[in-house]
């Protein structure tokens, strides 16, 4: 029964959240956090195996729906949530020893971490477009206090901006959802089933195109705020830079994907109703704009976490663009890019987190010579940077290559823009990371050994994906791409 | 509109014209009386405006040496305009002989004509207060007039006519409908009424404080019969505005086309509505405080905003 795996998947973080609310200030809270995240991951694996074997399924009175597309994101989310919990154990302890965080803050962090995972998993697996919205909002609410965890003026400002901007964005998405319901109710009748995605998908051809067009604009703008699409991105660099690094890692690696998943769900409906490329064009436009603007901003950053936050905007723009192009190849490439970007970006944030702790600052001009003080952190950062910049043989190269060749084929005029943006980003990031890794250092030793296993595990996966795509995985992605059209 | 009995129609028209000219000072007296009661004073009585008028008519007029004929003729024009306005607004029956003249835009024009003359006359003598009052009056009316037009358009849109009798006919004698746009228009109209009739909070009719006065500043140079006519015109203007409000927003009870038998009942209904409106106005004036003159644009801007919102809502909801 799929109900069983799903229950396990959702119950693990819920239970984790409850337990950590009770015991979050104990010494072993970090271990408990990792354990619960591992349980979630195990349940996600079980669910994935089941869905890949048996195909799309609904569960719990049709309130949840799992197909190849979202189960892939469930697996990714659970995996990165697990590795991030491993990373955050030493990281948060070091922060505590440095006096930047107190025990109550850690308590808050652990309980919210589990609840955040829960919210994301619900948003991914829910079949009801309304519930997806509720879960997305819950994901904001659980992270907003984490962004201001350090209680510095800058972190408060970042959290406030994050809260207000995402609150506004998500409110617009709710309006889109209401419009969707408005259209659906005419076909499906009033009541519970009119917001269920599976039901909507069956009747998408009958949904009123005018309403759906408007609904999609609101949904894209709303969830787009969460994805960090330009011009609604201004919360993202602040939140990433001022929050604790594990939070930056899960925001970049996971939350953005989940928001994109919601947009894709809507796009499928809108495409079915409109039978034009309206939704795709809109996504391509926003995507392209994000890539270009983020690349231009990249070169002006001084703060290392800010810089990689802009890199996230750039890559989310690229993924949105690729999804917007549509077609099996572009969608396949987008899914692959989603995977490798999440893995690489979280790995980078792990390495950056430790580098910042060693240097005691986030200003790049003051972080130097990581290889000297800690070869593992230095190499992790260097390799992660190589990977994110799309150097072969890493997986990012494969997905970016696919995206650009598809763009060249379908929309040739976009290719030079994309290549130029990627070139600028390459120059900006590489030029800044190189002296950080090499060069003379003034950094200090850390009281706890850093957890670098997650960094290299992620990078290894990205490397494997770049060198050899297992047919099992390729088949799975192809199925997911077929679902998205 | 078919008029079944022309003689009776003319008779009622004459009757209404006389009625308004006598009722108007009474209404002013009633408002003052209510204000006195609300402020715990014993008022001067309902007939006080008549006593004031009689006193003024018995005095000898004093006119400045440099006054032009415009100055002398203005009180008569003012009185004529206001009387005309008050006489043609359908308040007891919808198909009186003059009623085709009662077009809402023409009404606004009549009010504007009177205002132009009083402002010119105020500047005619060349005193500082006259010019100051005229300028302030123009400022207020410049803001109030668009709002008033918007209010009237809201009502016109519902009946598809700018003819006041037609509007009243539609609102009073067809199936009762709640119009949100009219609710907005009514709020805006109240604000315009307060501003145009020199009431609190825009102006205070009972002081001669130079910092605040608007209307009083313009008529400082008038005396005796001229002043009496202007005061009477002021009462008529208030009466015209209140009856316009009644016609637009509470026309129920007015006599239907050709149904002359209903006129006495309509007059009684009108009296009741006037009493209520007067009391309401007094209450409003007691509750509000006079605002600084520079706040007046904001206050009137609110009226305009409300009226425009009413229009927009009419277009959206069709109601």
């Amino acid at each position: 029964m799929i109900d069983l795996q799903l229950t396990a998947l959702l119950l693990a973080p819920l239970l984790g959240g409850l337990l950590l609310t009770l015991f979050g200030s104990r010494n072993w809270a970090a271990e408990l956090n990792s354990l619960m995240s591992f349980c979630t991951f195990a349940a996600a694996v079980a669910l994935t195996v089941r869905v890949v074997e048996a195909g799309p399924q609904v569960a719990f009175n049709e309130q949840f729906f799992i197909d190849q597309f979202n189960v892939f994101l469930v697996a990714l989310t659970a995996f990165i949530a697990f590795t991030t919990s491993l990373f955050s154990r030493p990281y948060m302890r070091i922060e505590q020893d440095h006096g930047r965080l107190s025990t109550p803050m850690l308590h808050l962090y652990y309980s919210m971490y589990q609840l955040f995972t829960l919210a994301m998993l619900v948003a991914l697996t829910a079949n009801n477009m309304g519930i997806i919205w509720v879960a997305m909002e819950a994901a904001t609410l659980t992270t907003v206090l984490l962004v201001s965890l350090y209680r510095t003026p800058a972190s408060l400002e970042a959290a406030w901006k994050y809260f207000i901007l995402c609150g506004v964005g998500i409110a617009l998405a709710l309006f889109g959802t209401i419009l969707l319901y408005f259209a659906a109710e005419r076909v499906l009748g009033q009541g519970g089933t009119a917001l269920l995605w599976t039901h909507l998908n069956e009747v998408k051809g009958e949904l009123e195109p005018t309403v759906l067009k408007l609904a999609f604009i609101f949904l894209l703008v709303g969830y787009g705020t969460k994805i960090g699409l330009v011009p609604l991105h201004s919360w993202l660099p602040d939140a990433h830079a001022e929050g604790p690094t594990p939070v930056s890692a899960v925001l970049s690696g996971l939350l953005l994907n989940v928001a994109l998943c919601a947009v894709m769900r809507s796009k499928v409906l809108v495409d079915g109703s409109l039978e034009t490329h309206f939704a795709g064009n809109l996504m391509m436009g926003f995507g392209l704009l994000s890539v270009v603007v983020a690349a231009l901003f990249l070169s002006r950053q001084k703060d290392i976490k800010r810089m990689f936050a802009y890199s996230s905007i750039e890559h989310m723009g690229l993924i949105t663009f690729s999804f917007g192009m549509g077609g099996p190849v572009a969608t396949f490439a987008a899914l692959l890019h989603m995977t490798v970007h999440s893995l690489t970006k979280s790995a980078i944030f792990f390495a950056v987190g430790h580098a910042v702790q060693k240097a005691g600052t986030q200003q790049m001009e003051n972080i130097r010579g990581m290889l000297q003080i800690s070869p593992t952190v230095g190499w992790g950062l260097m390799l992660g940077t190589f990977a994110i910049l799309g150097m072969p043989p890493f997986g990012v190269f494969a997905s970016e290559f696919l995206i650009i060749t598809t763009a060249m084929h379908d929309h040739p005029w976009t290719t030079p823009i994309l290549l130029a943006a990627l070139g600028i980003a390459f120059a900006a990031i590489f030029g800044r990371v190189q002296p950080i890794v090499f060069g003379e250092t003034t950094a200090r030793r850390l009281p706890h050994p850093p957890a670098l296993l997650p960094v290299f595990a992620h990078l290894l996966l990205v490397l494997i994906l770049g060198l050899y795509m297992p047919p099992y995985l390729a088949n799975w992605y192809r199925q997911a791409a077929a679902l998205l059209g | 509109m078919e008029n079944t009995n022309p003689t009776l129609g003319i008779l009622f028209q004459l009757y209404q014209s006389l009625l308004v000219v006598l009722l108007a000072p009474l209404l002013t007296g009633w408002v003052n009386q209510c204000r006195a009661w609300l402020q715990n004073r014993s008022g001067p009585g309902l007939l006080q405006p008549f006593r004031t008028l009689r006193k003024l008519f018995h005095k000898d007029a004093v006119i400045a040496h440099n006054a032009s004929p415009l100055f002398r003729v203005t009180p008569y024009i003012l009185f004529g305009c206001m009387w005309l306005a008050a006489a043609i607004i359908p308040i007891i029956a919808v198909d009186l002989p003059f009623s085709p003249a009662a077009d809402v835009i023409a009404l606004v024009g009549v009010f504007a004509l009177a205002r132009m003359f009083i402002a010119l006359a105020a500047m005619d003598i060349g005193t500082a207060f006259g010019s100051l009052g005229a300028r302030r009056e123009m400022l207020v009316s410049f803001l109030a007039e668009p709002a008033l037009l918007m209010v009237l358009f809201s009502a016109s849109l519902i009946s598809h006519s700018t003819q006041l009798p037609r509007i009243v006919e539609v609102l009073a004698h067809q199936q009762f409908v709640l119009y949100p746009s009219l609710a907005f228009a009514a709020l805006a109209f109240v604000i315009v009424l307060l501003a145009e009739n020199a009431r609190i909070p825009v102006d205070n009719p009972s002081t001669h404080l130079e910092l605040t006065m608007i209307h009083e500043a313009m008529i400082l140079e008038y005396s005796a019969r001229h002043l009496a006519l202007i005061e009477w015109a002021g009462s008529l203007k208030l009466f015209a505005y209140i009856s316009l409000g009644i016609a637009l927003f509470f026309p129920h009870g007015i006599a239907e086309v050709g149904n002359w038998g209903a006129v006495p009942a309509a007059i009684l209904a009108l009296l009741g509505k006037l009493l209520l409106a007067g009391a309401g106005l007094a209450l409003l004036e007691t509750l509000l405080a006079k605002m600084r003159i520079f706040r007046a644009p904001e206050f009137l801007g609110t009226a305009f905003l409300l009226a425009v919102l009413g229009l927009l809502i009419h277009f959206l909801l069709g109601a």
């Binding site: 919205w133 509720v134 003026p153 809260f163 209401i178 | 959206l316």
Partner: protein, 220 residues
């Protein structure tokens, strides 16, 4: 098309809702702002109740009760408590250029009505014009958030936006599934609590609830 009295009444309430948002837009005093918010909730609750009555949908009665409880009683009470504790009860905000804001507001109303017209033409539902009004109040609340410099007024703007959305959900579409509405209500409640926590954190850090202090993070 003759409209029934219930529809007329809902239309009237919708118009009042819009009026309240405009009043909020021009309200300088924080205390009055919160009271206006409570009134808005009341109008919302009444309109939901009327819709429930006229369409005979029982779950909408729960929505109406929930709105009454949450948006008329709990949230304003929380906000009142907050401003008392933060000692900003009598704060007056300096708003620049109210007339311009109002004109922009009217433009927004026209814009949203235009946007909603094709939708309302589709609907056979009797309350077809309401989507436009709901959208207008959402956008006006957004405008309010943009023009305010005090954290509390921004939050009231946020909540009022939520009200506009709720109005769209209950009146224009005759109610979303109850589970969704409950979820939304819970989110709003939690959000308000978190806002409350933020107020204290912000004041502790900046000695004021002016968010003008919080414009340091910029890309230069």
């Amino acid at each position: 098309m003759p409209m029934t009295y219930t529809v007329q009444f809902i239309n009237l309430l919708a118009a009042i809702l819009l009026l309240i948002v405009f009043a909020m837009l021009s309200q300088r005093r924080i205390l009055s702002l919160i009271n206006l918010f409570a009134w808005q909730g009341l109008v919302l609750s009444v309109s939901t109740f009327v819709v429930a009555y006229s369409t005979v949908q029982h779950h909408l009665y729960y929505s109406a009760a929930l709105t009454l409880l949450l948006k008329v009683l709990v949230l304003p009470w929380l906000l009142h408590r907050l401003i008392r504790k933060l000692n900003v009860r009598w704060d007056v905000e300096t708003l620049i250029n109210i007339p311009t804001t109002m004109l922009v507001g009217i433009a927004l109303v026209i814009f949203s009505f235009n946007l909603a017209t094709p939708i309302s033409e589709l609907s056979e539902s009797i309350t077809r014009g309401l989507i436009g009004i709901a959208l207008a109040s959402v956008l006006l609340s957004l405008l309010m958030m943009l023009t305010r410099r005090k954290a509390i007024s921004q939050v009231v703007g946020f909540l009022s936006m939520e009200n506009g959305l709720f109005f769209a959900a209950t009146s224009a579409t005759h109610g979303m599934p109850l589970v969704v509405e409950l979820g939304i209500a819970l989110d709003v409640l939690v959000a308000t609590f978190i806002f409350g926590i933020f107020f204290f954190q912000i004041r502790e850090t900046f000695d004021s609830l002016d968010i003008t202090h919080m414009e340091k993070l910029k890309d230069d």
